[in-house]
Symmetry: C2
Subunit: 286 residues, 2 copies
Amino acid sequence: MSLDKNWFTEEAAGAGCALSLKIVNKIHEEQTPYQLLEIYQTETFGNLMTLDGLVMLTDRDNFIYHEMMAHPALFSHPDPKKVLIIGGGDCGSLLEVLKHSSVTHADQVELDERVTRVSERFFPDLCKSNNDPRAHLHFTDGIKWIEECAPETYDVIIIDSTDPVGPAEGLFTSEFYHNCLQALGPQGVIVAQSESPLIHAHIITKMHKSLHDAGFVDTATLQFAQCSYPSGWWSATMGCKQGSLSDFRAQDAAGKRFATRYYNADIHQGALAQPEFLRNALDKNH
Amino acid sequence: MSLDKNWFTEEAAGAGCALSLKIVNKIHEEQTPYQLLEIYQTETFGNLMTLDGLVMLTDRDNFIYHEMMAHPALFSHPDPKKVLIIGGGDCGSLLEVLKHSSVTHADQVELDERVTRVSERFFPDLCKSNNDPRAHLHFTDGIKWIEECAPETYDVIIIDSTDPVGPAEGLFTSEFYHNCLQALGPQGVIVAQSESPLIHAHIITKMHKSLHDAGFVDTATLQFAQCSYPSGWWSATMGCKQGSLSDFRAQDAAGKRFATRYYNADIHQGALAQPEFLRNALDKNH
């Protein structure tokens, strides 16, 4: 079959596959100082946000991504109080972070203020904690923020970025991770979105190496399904300054006092399992 | 963007999403007695087989599906010797089953012989165990096969079927599962492909109920990414006649003497983790 003009389509760059979502209407379009931001009403996935034609999120499936960007990292730290989110302008990761009662302060550093303002309008459910007194929204360059950050400021750093091309490229370097290491307290944990295990395994293995080179003592990749991202399979890669990422607060996660739709303690443990091909590639990496 | 005629596109029925794969050529097409069978050479996913326009498999990502259809069920049985596969005409599940040295006899019952013959030609890697003396290929109706099967014939039954519409509909009923229960030995295990957790959670919860109604004492859904199936997220649901599916032979799986690309003992354990929304739906189910 071929799709008519009532479909939005994203071709995964160079991957020979494409995802399409059936559209009711385009309901917003603007050229921000950084990118083309569009919002579509879809037939079955709720609202859809794209940046320069690439899917950022849909109402229907963003819960998996945002829960997996926040909860495993926070339950891997013994007592996360101060959290930094770089990127994350749709505020979905921030919403999940603020579900943790231990958190006293969350800085979100997003380059493009328009992403957040448009999310407040079209994804209000994701932005309902933006006025939480613990939430501090900053619209500036995350790479510079980290360079200028006082040592040991944060317990957890979440890199909720776009793909490692263009402005986000600097968020995947060993130098950037080293600055994050400095900005983290002694028990600090970093997590970064790390693309598709099927299409981008080379990016994942390189991230592990860069995190180790930067001084993180343990690294681990979480895998999860994410329908609206290329290949439907996505990942987040964590690093910690001491201890082991397999020793997370499983009891606290099992007894969490907030609602989730995807995450739970078993899912956390399960997402840490490495597919055989990735395990082999990571073994060769060392 | 819109896709030109060099793409194969499958719209997930009623789900408002579609997957496309970039095509080099259509290399085979035939109307079998049962369905339209097409083979495409894709740009990056190797060969692609479709039946009536729906993706059955690609060279690139079928390993996840086939390994997850075979190994968790076989490592959930203490000593699987006799295995039945219903459907599975591409022979990928059979290939994985025969990697287990305990298996002495595998019956594969596929309705459409042409699926297997065409697979032998265009997916030779999946068919390389078809001449194994333990492999017995039958081309007939799986529902009838199970009805006429002597009690306690098999240790593991694998339902590697198409979607629960048309000919495969009868493979998702409580009556069919009850016949499978009869055909299984006292420690028998069944596994059936069970669609997408994102799109078809209602099918998964119904399958658990039907398996329990049929007499299986424990049920569990395995989740895994599968790029070329609708939503990129797929599942297989297991049932056992005694004991618990969480007590699989983890040590044997960790020490397996055959190669896999996705499956290992950690992946098995991890795939058993139920997303929170599915756990809640299954709890309500009981």
